[in-house]
Each structure stands twice: as structure tokens, then as C-alpha cells.
Subunit: 338 residues, 2 copies
Amino acid sequence: MKRRTPEVLEWARTLVEPALEAATRRLSPDLGLPARYHFGWVDPCGSPLEESLHGKGVRPTLALLSAGAAGAPPEIALPGAVAVELVHNFSLIHDDIIDDDDERRHRATVWKVFGVGDAIIVGDALMGLAFELLLEEATPARTAAATDLVQATMAMIAGQYMDMSFNRQDTVGVTECWEMVSRKTGALLAHASAVGAILADAPPETVEALRRFGRELGLCFQAIDDLLGIWGEPAVTGKPAGNDLRERKKSIPVAVALSSGTRAGEMLADLYAQEHLNESDIARAAALVEEAGGRSATAEAARDCMQRAAQALTAADLEEQPAEELLDLASFVVNREF
Amino acid sequence: MKRRTPEVLEWARTLVEPALEAATRRLSPDLGLPARYHFGWVDPCGSPLEESLHGKGVRPTLALLSAGAAGAPPEIALPGAVAVELVHNFSLIHDDIIDDDDERRHRATVWKVFGVGDAIIVGDALMGLAFELLLEEATPARTAAATDLVQATMAMIAGQYMDMSFNRQDTVGVTECWEMVSRKTGALLAHASAVGAILADAPPETVEALRRFGRELGLCFQAIDDLLGIWGEPAVTGKPAGNDLRERKKSIPVAVALSSGTRAGEMLADLYAQEHLNESDIARAAALVEEAGGRSATAEAARDCMQRAAQALTAADLEEQPAEELLDLASFVVNREF
């Protein structure tokens, strides 16, 4: 019988967290500390926290369910689940330095606590560890999983770099913006949703269907994240209202508005060109994005992506229960107030 | 007939540089620019330089020769040669941020020109690219080469972190210091010297002999680098005399002196504990390291390593010419004024 998503996430955590913990133990104790701090297991001195503050673990859960969906025992996906979580967290640690972010999950970021040098090197170590884990058994399936992961990682890095470049541009096109999202967020979620099937030696069409599901989930997730970045409740998002506008991010709704050819779009461009945006500018920018069609187009795109994600699963020949749990997980991930 | 080392390096460059250049072309043009700048092919705006300022290319040359030594065409090692050079350069780009170094090869470092964020991400991309290249053909030899490279990379990262930790300690033991060197410098040179044989599907004893050669070469290289860091001619090293002492580095000669149990060693420890070292302190520190036996022990260790490197090659059943060229290359690399 199909399990509820919180139960599925908890089940995945029970499987993955010990393996992830064991992976970080391979690092020297000194180098392992910033990693273990980042994962929310210990304080900056290495003392265990009463309650793990680790994230939801969406990517490892996708990996385990995708093995199940391909008709294999979920445990076969464990090395892939750990590796994708390592790559995701390497990118978070480096991104926090690059974006000068002080906090993540309500705690000081690694570079804030341990310094930039340590944060760079612990990120490097987690990336290496991911490939070391997958490659230490030289089966064709493990090699294929490592190859898929490295390609997803390269796409993710390219997407992160595109996002950084957007900050230096006055405007970005809608297509360009989706391309960035597809790489930065979509590629690793696509890999996570496919790697279980890859490790299960599933037929290519099964792997590709799961990959499409993961990519659409990534696009949907980012579209909703972008809506929340403008219209999200501060109490829910933990960030001030209109935060993405304050930082003049070229998010999807903004890219749509700037490219709309409407008067509201032009006025938004003028606002974005200003030195400083005060609170009333931000409220006005939000209204202009909405007037130029950015909000509705993004919400519609999110719905379309979710629909295509669901279609990818139903079109493939998958085990029923894990496939349903995958779809529920997708809804759970994107279903936030906006 | 055996070629002279400069000729061998030039031959390797002719083979490797186009492949390395093609590898960086896989990155988006924006992300490729800092990489191409770092490799010494272009200026910060992307205009080609008249003369390539790229390093000597010791690691790729080792890779090509090791395939030859194992009786295979050197070209079989090309993906391994490119991958090891990518990993080496990813580590240089990140190390320059970590060590706050402004210059490398008489040019501004990547982070100085493009900013810390870009330098972090281009380093990440070069590391990923190395594994992507090796894994894109799923043969057992390519997978074995990737596995060997990831293990060497993890050792190198651990060594770099040990080295950073030494800066925070008052003293380090001699064994600990060699362990750091073996990881930071030895592991990747060991891999470079073995990967050609791995890609040539050579028997394990051939691979291991070449690996031992590369590791000893790395230890010897670092021992001599450490001697140069104290007694090198500024005109030759490009750094002020006694530079390692000024930075209070725990290099091999210093570790030997500090652990010597001599009066000179104790006096060196007192000097190292001072807030600031002036020029006469540095001259005195150099004399104390020498008096405590640090200079002679390190020079002797360098000779021993070189001898063991040569023995590793003669003990194995290798093709004569490439084996001789490997040994000449090793002498060329370590044979600097000190």
C-alpha cells in the first residue's frame, strides 16, 4: 500500500543517512568536521546535535524510489542516493561562498564558521567523494551511474555560472532563463530520478522516462520557488517579501515581464536599472511583474511541468507503488504556499 | 634513440595541448575564459597570447611516457594525460584562493582577475571535466583510470588540507610532514606516472612500479622545493630568500629541525613563536635549521627518493627508451639549483 510522503522521506533517511555519515568518515576528522556541520549532525566543535538538521533529502529519496519504480530493490540505489546528495551539498557549500550567503537552514554557512579556504576544500572533497563511492565497484551499472552523475554535475555547474552571469546583465530572455533553470536545478534532479533505474540495469526507456520526470520536477520546483521569491509569505519562506526583486534577480517571472513588450515590462526595466530599490519600489516592481503577465505565465508553466512530470511516469512501464510515491513526492516538494 | 627531456616535453605538449584546449571548449565561452586564461593561452579578455605561458606539462608527459614504458602507443594515454592536467590545474586555481596568492607563473591568479566566485566555479568545472572525459568511453581501462584519478584527487585534497592545518599548529612531526607531502604532491604524480599503463591494460606489477616511481619523484620534488624555499637563489626561484621561513611554513627541513631535540631546534621553535620575523631573524632561522640537521637530512632524503624512483623503474619489465626518458624527466624536474 502506498505510503504517505513524510513516511517515505523518513524511510529514505533511515537508509541513506548512515551511509552518508560513513562516507564523511572517510575524510580526515579535521576535514570531515565542516562536512558534518554542514549536514546538520554536529555543532562547529563536532558535538552531536540532539536533532539532525539535515535537509529533507529529496534527491536520495528520488534515487531509491526510482530503483523501486524500475522493479528493483530500492537498496540497489543506495550508492547513487549518497553520491547525488554529496554532489548537491558540495554545490550548496560552494554556492554559499559565491553568493556571499551567511545562513542556510537557519544556521551559519560553512564558510562563515570555518572560513572560505576550508569551505572551498570541503566542497571539493565532497564532490570527489561522490565519484569515489560510485567507482569503487567497477560494475558497468556503477560506471554508468558515475558517468551520468558527472554529466549532471557539469550541467549544474554551467547553470550556476549562467545564473551568476545573469546578475551582470541588464536583462535575460525567457528561453535563456529556462535553459539556466534546466541546468542549475533540473539536471541533478533528473539524475536523482534516473540513477536508481541505472543502477538497477533498467532498460533505457525506463531510465529516460524517470529522467524526464525529474527534469520537469526541477523546472516546476524552480518556477514555484521564483513565485515565492516575489509573492511568498515571509513567515513561510523565511525571507523578506519581494526578496528576489530586492536582489534584482532575473527569475522566470521577471524574465517573462521584461520580455513581454508591455508598458509594465518597460517600467520594470527602468526600476531594475535604479541604483537602489526601497520598499515601495519593490511593491511596485511586484505589481509590474504581475501586470506584465510574469506571475500568471510562471504559474501556468509550473502546472504544465508538473503535468508533463506525471505523464512521463504514466507513459513508462513502472512498478505502481513506487511510481505513485514518486508523484506524491513531486507534489509534496512543489506544493508550497504562493 | 633516447630523446632529450626538453624535446620530450615539447613532443608531449604537441599531443596534449590541442586535446586540453578542446576540453576547455566544452565549457560555455564565459566559463571557459578563466580556464583558458589560467592555462596561459589568452589574456583576461580572451585574446590569444603570442606565446603560450602554460607550465611545463610534467604530469601529462609522465602519462604518455608511462604508456610507452608499458609497451603501448603513447597516444593511448592521451585522455589520462588531459585529465590529470585538468585536476592539477583545478587544484592550483583553488589553492591560489585558499593561500591568498596574487601571482602564478608571473601573471595575476584567476581569482585576482575574475573574482573568487568565478575562480571557485571554474575550478569545480575543471575537476568535473577530468572525470567526464575519462568516463565518456565506458571501457574497463577508462573506468580504472577514472577510479585511480579520483583516489589520487582525494589524497591530494587531504594533503592540501593537512598543509593548511600545519599553518595553525606550532610544530609538526617529520613523519606527519612526509605524509602530507606524499598526499599533496606524491599522489597525483604517482597517478600521472601510472595512468598510461592503466589505459594500456598493463599488468598490475607494471602499473605499481610506475606508481612507485611517480610517488618517489613527488617526494623528491617536494624535498628539493623545500630546500629552495629556504636556500634558493631569489633570481632562480622568483621568491625572496628564506621565503618559507618568513611565512613560517612547516616544510620538511623545518620539521626535521623542530623535532631534532637539539639546542638549535629549540631556538628555531622560539623564533617561529615570535609575532614577526625580520630579515636578520630569517637568516638566523635558516642557520638554525641547518645547524639542527634539517638541511642535510632533507638533501639526503631527496637523494634517497630519487634512487628509489630509479630502482622502481629498473625492477619492472619496461620498454627501455620510454623508461630512460621517464628517468631523465625525473632528474630534469628535480634538478634545480639549491
